[in-house]
């Protein structure tokens, strides 16, 4: 299966590219300066989406619009407005642009998988922006599952807390000692399943590759 991966320059995304043997379409991560709350990067994202949508279609598209490295857990009242935009609004907009391009590049009867970072509910304190973005992506996936189902395109998500664990987790401990898992094994395995024929009847779902934590 030929896989196109729309991803950022995050090191863990490179690991995913290798694990899936995917071709890469880079997502924009460097933007013009400006007042962050005005989204000075909106036009650039728009242009990127238009260009990225205008390419050959493939049967399998994976989207990993991860930030380069997570900022670390901070209670929301300690997150300033610029940091809020950087951790919440910009990633949300990048996911929106990326998933729009992904379904344009997906052939009829193909599959799209969004790979999203999301802390387990027990562990989400300090990760409010990331939790909000992850839930938004889940809704985007379900919206696209509805709009693309008519042409046989399946759209699903895999969630992982792999980079969002900071020290000991809240009790009870995760069921699997492999928590929080790895990109190359737990995450890539879930993606392969959702892209493959064994998931032919699966769309609009979220598969948590969190080693049972959720």
């Amino acid at each position: 299966m030929s896989v196109l991966l729309l991803g950022t320059e995050a090191p863990e995304v490179a690991v995913l590219v290798e694990a899936l043997d995917a071709d890469v379409l880079p997502l924009p991560t460097q933007f013009a300066e400006g007042g962050a709350t005005d989204w000075p990067w909106a036009d650039e994202l728009e242009r990127w989406r238009a260009a990225a949508s205008d390419g050959p279609v493939v049967d399998a598209v994976v989207v990993a619009a991860w930030v380069r490295s997570p900022a670390g857990p901070v209670p929301l009242d300690g997150v300033g407005l610029d940091a809020w935009v950087a951790r919440g609004e910009l990633p949300l907009a990048r996911w929106f642009a990326a998933l729009g391009a992904a379904v344009r590049r997906c052939a009829d009867g193909g599959a799209v998988v969004a790979v999203v970072e999301r802390p387990a509910p027990l562990d989400c304190a300090g990760w409010a922006p990331e939790t909000g973005v992850a839930d938004a992506v889940e809704a985007m996936v379900r919206s696209l599952a509805r709009s693309e189902g008519g042409r046989g395109v399946r759209v699903n998500a895999v969630t992982t807390p792999v980079r969002l664990v900071d020290g000991p987790v809240v009790d009870p401990q995760p069921p699997l000692s492999s928590f929080p898992g790895t990109v190359e094994v737990e995450v890539a395995g879930a993606i392969r399943m959702l892209l493959g024929d064994d998931a032919a009847g699966v769309t609009g779902t979220v598969l948590d590759a969190g080693c049972g934590r959720s």
Binding site: D77, F96, A125, A128, A139, M140
Partner: protein, 252 residues
């Protein structure tokens, strides 16, 4: 909290927000109508008075940090306390249909500014005051945030993002005595009427999977549930999304 609560309701100059404000007014609470439209906001404040509460209007642009800070300062400056905040306002683009791959990023920005940044700004500005009263934050989300919407993907995305924020904030603020919950209403509102006019098939889709067979009323169906989430009867409830949707959403 005492019975003389002071609450702020955003986007309360009409629709669901107005219904929530009136329901809180019936309890005798002081209700601040936080909205952009002064005339409509003051009219709802007068309706709150007529219900037995104390209606007040404060101008507020929920996506603007200075505006939210100013509104909170005005409320606490006049009323002396803050027991609850209800973030109900949504983008005026909420009923505008479009496909996720084509929707302008600038439109998404408007959705995010009102719903998501608005939640962030209101939450962070209100926290010290809510902590002082062991108060509550209630965020109005939607079944769209669970199910997704083929034609309203930006609306669905920001409504889902709000649920994520609520889940995280409940864990962060619980030890500080502040409860955070979400409410997903389905009610007949001007926005819904507009959406149904733009998409004539919508009425059939909505009513077709509505076990209770009718759209909710903002004041008598949604308002009391919001009042519950603001009041002592829900003092052991945090981090949840309550569906007040006539059984419409099968996911929850």
């Amino acid at each position: 909290m005492t019975d003389a609560r002071v609450v702020v309701v955003t986007g309360a100059s009409g629709g669901v927000g107005r219904g929530i404000a009136l329901a809180c007014g019936e309890a005798g609470w002081t209700v601040w109508i936080a909205a952009r439209r002064a005339d409509a906001g003051r009219a709802v404040a007068a309706e709150v008075d007529a219900r037995g509460g104390a209606g007040r209007f404060v101008p507020c642009e929920v996506g603007d940090a200075d505006s939210v800070a100013g509104a909170m300062a005005d409320v606490v400056g006049v009323s002396g306390r803050l027991d609850g905040v209800v973030h109900n306002a949504t983008s005026g683009l909420s009923p505008v249909p479009g496909h996720l791959a084509d929707l302008p990023i600038a439109d998404l920005r408007d959705h995010v500014a009102v719903s998501v940044r608005g939640t962030y700004l209101l939450a962070t500005q209100a926290l010290p005051h809510l902590e002082a009263t062991t108060g509550a934050l209630v965020v109005l989300t939607s079944e769209a945030g669970f199910e997704g919407k083929a034609k309203l993907p930006a609306y669905a995305a920001v409504k889902a993002a709000q649920r994520g924020l609520v889940r995280a904030l409940a864990r962060e603020w619980g030890p500080r005595g502040v409860r955070v919950n979400a409410l997903a209403p389905l009610a007949s509102t001007p926005a819904m009427v507009t959406a149904m006019e733009r998409d004539p098939s919508m009425a059939g889709r909505v009513m077709g999977h509505l076990p209770l067979g009718r759209l909710g009323d903002a004041e008598t169906d949604i308002g009391p549930v919001t009042r519950f989430l603001l009041g002592d009867d829900s003092r052991y409830v945090t981090g949840v999304t309550i569906m007040a949707d006539g059984g419409s959403c099968p996911i929850s």
